[in-house]
Amino acid sequence: MRPALAALATTLGPTLIGARWVAGPLLLRCSLGALVGIVIVAFGALVGGLVGAVVPVALLACLAGWLLGPRLRLEPNDQLQAGRLAHGVMCFVMAVGACLLVLSVFRPVPEWDGWMTWSLKAKALAVDGGFSGPVFESPTYAYSHQDYPPLLPTWQALAYLIGGDLRVSWPSQFQLAWLWTAGGVALIDLVARRWGAGVLFLLPWLCSPPVIFWAMAGYADVPMALLLLAGTAVLLTSSPARPAAVAGLLLAGCALMKNEGLPLAVLTAGSVLVFSPRRAIPGKALGLAVAGALPWLLFTRIRGIPSDLVTAETLHPTRVLQLTPRLGPIARAWASQLVSLRAWALLAAGAASAVLVGWRPRRDLLIAVLFAVALLTGIYVITPYDVSRQLVVSIDRVTIAPLGLVALMMAAADPPRPAVPQPEPPASRSSS
């Protein structure tokens, strides 16, 4: 009974709080609101972990989220409506999400990083009540990447705390299925409202084998990517009349999900900022994202928790130059993902053919994609581990976020101009 309560309290609770941050139709409020609420509650637990009071600070964050929501609410443009196509796609995504939610009740944490890093830290936080325990500080647990941002574990820790049994892990699977469903519906609604039929380009990403598989594997890659895309979509659809808080919160959530989350959020919001005619909104959102990531960054620096990837030694110019031959295998690994049906062949082929028939991708997101690919390639170049082995075990999920940006870039692309003038569609379309 308590695990069920844990699963529902850590999903429905944040959804109710987050729904106060979003105006508009109920579906948009609940889906986008779920992402916002999860970030608020998990961030509260993270700050609580830093001061050794997970539950009290998480409850305070809930209260603050509840009270602040109406003041910082995102007001979607009422004149733009998600059409019949979008509603059909959302119904399909909710049906898939319902299946995943049902399956989650019978699933353990199925994959390697789930028990090595994310859920182990969630257990530790639930037991220790803070980040001062051995899992975060002892060399015995150095394998768990102690410096990684812990937003996913802090959210999962709440489920362990409410569930009251460290041996019951299915609520964390329920949380991830909820996040995939809510994130998918929110993205479709936001994109369809602004770019109409462009929403179809999101499907080869959202329904791709890597996204669905890794969403249900207990990893942070899909949550990070969903928050990145949702934050970016909110940024692209915002106006000066709508506060940047929601976009900033979502990007802060992205920054606290994984080590590459912060640079991805900064690069993406930065690209939008550079090309945007209204720079105040992306500027504020960018500031919020960085500010949100600071507490954990400061904690790791103060406690001297080392990073295994980014160190003075791995970044030494001489070493990096010597490692440039790694670019060959890394490029081959990227290419293998783009041609595999199990990965991104559908998205890559769809995007390439769309460009060939005249779709024009957004410049800001194209830049963001290129930055993201460069960033992740750079990480593979400098890794102190065997790069071939690391590519084998990670390339299919490391590509999730940049390919998500590709999907959003195509969804927001300008369609080909018809040879014969046609009546304007109900949803206005424009690009940067």
């Binding site: 196509l85 353990p108 299915w170 179809l200 084998p209």
Partner: protein, 171 residues
């Protein structure tokens, strides 16, 4: 060579018929959802998006079915807390994990010995067991309890519990 819709390198094979079911359900959903929208787009221009969306519906259905089979595998092997990372056998029998838990008191430390070596030398089983036995910490120099899998327990150790191929001992 695995069939093209065998999307998981998974714990268990997915029957070919399930791919047919995924294709049928996904196509049905696509027909229902993707009827030509009056969005002002020429059919030719919308074709890449429509074809991609149809195939996505099929892939999503195939993934749900694959995850269903994976979940059934976990249930059949009584894996309710941690899975097997796409391997077809559990790292350590559940009975051994239960025996280790029963033998560990609060604050006790543990170690693991397998045919691959001691503790980190068999990182797959060691890290899996560290998750299962948390909050008891591993300490491979002076453990209070040792989980021995696939090899004989060390001479002189007190066997607390044992099963087929495993034993839990106090050094």
């Amino acid at each position: 060579m695995s069939p093209p819709l065998a999307l998981l390198v998974a714990e268990t094979d997915v029957p070919f018929l399930s791919n047919v079911v995924a294709a049928a359900v996904g196509t049905g959903a696509a027909v229902a959802v993707l009827r030509p929208p009056r969005a002002g787009l020429a059919r030719m221009a919308a074709a890449p998006a429509l074809i991609g969306a149809w195939a996505s519906f099929v892939l999503a259905c195939a993934m749900v079915i694959s995850l269903g089979y994976q979940t059934r595998f976990f249930q059949q092997h009584d894996l309710r807390e941690a899975g097997t990372a796409q391997r077809r056998t559990a790292p350590i029998p559940e009975a051994a994990v239960a025996a280790a838990r029963a033998g560990l008191r609060s604050g006790d430390t543990w170690a693991l010995t397998t045919p691959d070596g001691r503790c980190e030398e068999d990182s797959y089983r060691y890290i899996w067991l560290a998750f299962r036995l948390h909050p008891n910490r591993p300490d491979c120099r002076a453990p209070q309890l040792e989980v021995v899998y696939g090899v004989s327990p060390p001479a002189g150790a007190t066997v607390v519990s044992a099963g087929a191929g495993w034993s839990v001992v106090r050094p």
